[in-house]
Amino acid sequence: MNHSLGVDIGSISTKGVILDDSGRLIAEAYLLTEGNPLGAVRRLLGELQAQLPADSQIYAVGTTGSARRLIGAMLEADAVKNEITAHAVGTLSRHPNVRTILEIGGQDSKIIILNDGIVTDYAMNTLCAAGTGAFLSAQAGRLGLAVEDMGGLAQTAAAPARIAARCTVFAESDLIHKAQTGHSKADLVAGLCNAVASNYLSNVGKGKKITPPVIFQGGVSRNQGVTEAFRRELNCEVLVDPDGPLMGAVGTALLAAKAPKRAEPFRFEIAARTYETKAETCAGCGNYCEIVRFVRDGVGVDAWGHRCEGIMES
C-alpha cells in the first residue's frame, strides 16, 4: 500500500496524519509541541506507527507549520509547504465547495478566500498576535479557567461584556476593569470570544469578501464561543470540521503524494537517530547571522539563518 505522511508542527501543537492512496485518513495524532519540535515529532511518529497496519509503507512525506524546515530536514520530506497552501489543499480535499477558510492558531491567524477550488486571496496577521490562541490561553489563566472550558462557559452568558477588540493590550485592560466592576465570569468570557471574532474580522479579514460556505479551523475553532460569535457577525453558517486541526497535515501529505516518488519507503526508525541543532553567530560580517546547523548522528545535513552562501562551505 502506498501511504503518505503529513506533519504540521505549529507553535503550540503538532499534528500528524497518514493517508492511504485514495486520500483516506488511516492514522492521526495531535499533541502539544511544548517548545520542542524534534521531541514532539518523535512522540508523534510513535503514536502514528502504532495505528498503522503492519503491511503498509509510506512513500511520501510532507511537513508544514512554523517548524516545517527543521522537521523537513529530520524526516527528509518530499514536500515542505507553507501553512496557507497546506491548509487550503487539505480543506479542499474534504470540502471542495468551500469559499472561505477562517483560521486562528496559537500564534497566527489567517483567512483564505477560494473560488472554484483555487485560492484567490489570503491574508495573515502581521505585526501583532491579537486574538490568537496564545492570547486566549493567557486570559483563561488570568480568570482561573482551563482554555478548553472557555467556549462552554461563554454559551451560558446572559449579557456578554463589551470588550475592546482592536488590540490585546486594550482588551486585557478592559477585561480586568470589567472583572473588578462585578461582571460574571461567563459574561467576561463571552465578551472575550466576541472580541476575538470581531478583532479577527476587522484586522485579518479587512477588505475581504467573505462568502459561504465558511469553515473555521485552527486550535481556537474548538472554542464554541468564538464560533458562535463568527456566526452572529457574518450572519451565515460557520462550519467546524472535527478534523479541522488536522487539515494542514492532510494538505501537506497530499502535496507530498504529488511530488516525485522517493526510491526507498519512509522508515519510522529515523526518529531513533540522534538529532542536534547547533546555534551559532557568524562573525564573518556585520550581519552577525544567527545560524542554526542541523546535525544528524554527528553529521551536518542542513543549515539556515544565513544571508549569504559563505556559511555553507565552512
Binding site: 507553507n82 496557507i84 483555487i118 505585526l127 556585520g286 550581519n287 552577525y288
Partner: protein, 314 residues
Amino acid sequence: MNPTRIISYPHMGDYHIPIRTFFERLYPDAEVRPAPPITKHTAALGARHSPDFICEPFKYNMGNFIEALDDGANTLFQTGTGCRYGYYGELQEQILRDLDYEFDFVRLNRENARPRRAYRKLRALGSPLNAAQMAGAALDAIEDIRRMDRQAHHRRQHPESQADPPLNVGIVGDLYTVMEPFANCDLERRLAARGVAVSREMSVTFLLFPPSNRRRLRDAGGYLRRHVGANGLDSVAQSLRYAKAGYDGIIHIKSFGCTPELNAVPALMCVSHDHGIPILHLSFDTHQSSAGLETRLEAFLDMITMRRQAQHES
C-alpha cells in the same frame, strides 16, 4: 593645512557606484568613501539613534552616517524630496551633532535640490568646477545611472531558472524599500531564485524623469483623483498598468508607517478587486526576520501558480 575632505553618503541599492564617480569628478582633491555596506549592525545602530516610529529609510541612513563617520568621513551628503524624507536631513544632522561628531553636512533636499542652489552649495564646499563642467559631470552621472537601471531591469526580467512561461510579478511601493535590497529582505533575489520575472518601474531614472502629474493622474484610472504624497499615486498607476497587461500578481512593499503608500492601499485593493489580480502587501521595519516573509511569499507564489494553471485548464 586643512585635513583632507572625506566625502560619504548613505546607501540605496548599487547607486553608490555612479555617485562615487560623480563626487570624484566634483572634488578631485577629496577622498570619496561611501558608507560601509548595510548590515544588521547598521540597522541596529541606526534604530538606536532614531525616533522609534519614524520610517526605516531614516534608520538605515542614520546607521550609514554613523558608520561612515566612524570610518573617517568628515563630509556627509543627504537628499530627499516628495515626502517627509525631505526633512530628514535637518533632524539627522542634529542627532549626529548631539553625538559629538564633527563634520560638514550638505543637504541637497527639497528646494536645495534645484540646480542653481545645488551648484552654489557644491561650489561653496570647494569644487573647482564651473557651472558648465558641473552640468557635464551631472549628465554623465545620469547616463551611468540610466545604463545601470536598464541592465538591472534586464536582470529582473530574466531570472536564471525560469518556469515556462515564467510568472510575471510587478513590484510597487515606496522608493527606498523598493530599491534597497537590505530593507526588503532581498525580495527580488528571492523571487529570482524561484524563476519569477519581476517588473518594477521605480528606479532613480524614474525619479529623475518622472511622468507628468497629469499623466500620473490619468494612469491611475480614477482609482485616485489626487496626489497622496511621494509615489503613492505612482504605485496605483503602475499596478493598474500591470493588471491590464495580464500580470500574475503584484507585490506592494512599504516601510512601516509610510504615509503616501498607506494612502495608496485602499485604491490598490479596488484595483485588485476590479481586475482580479492578487496583491501582496508587505510592510518592513528594521527588525525583520525573513521567516514570516518566506511564508507569505511562498503562499503568494503558490496561489498565483495555481490560478494560472486553472486559467489554462478552463
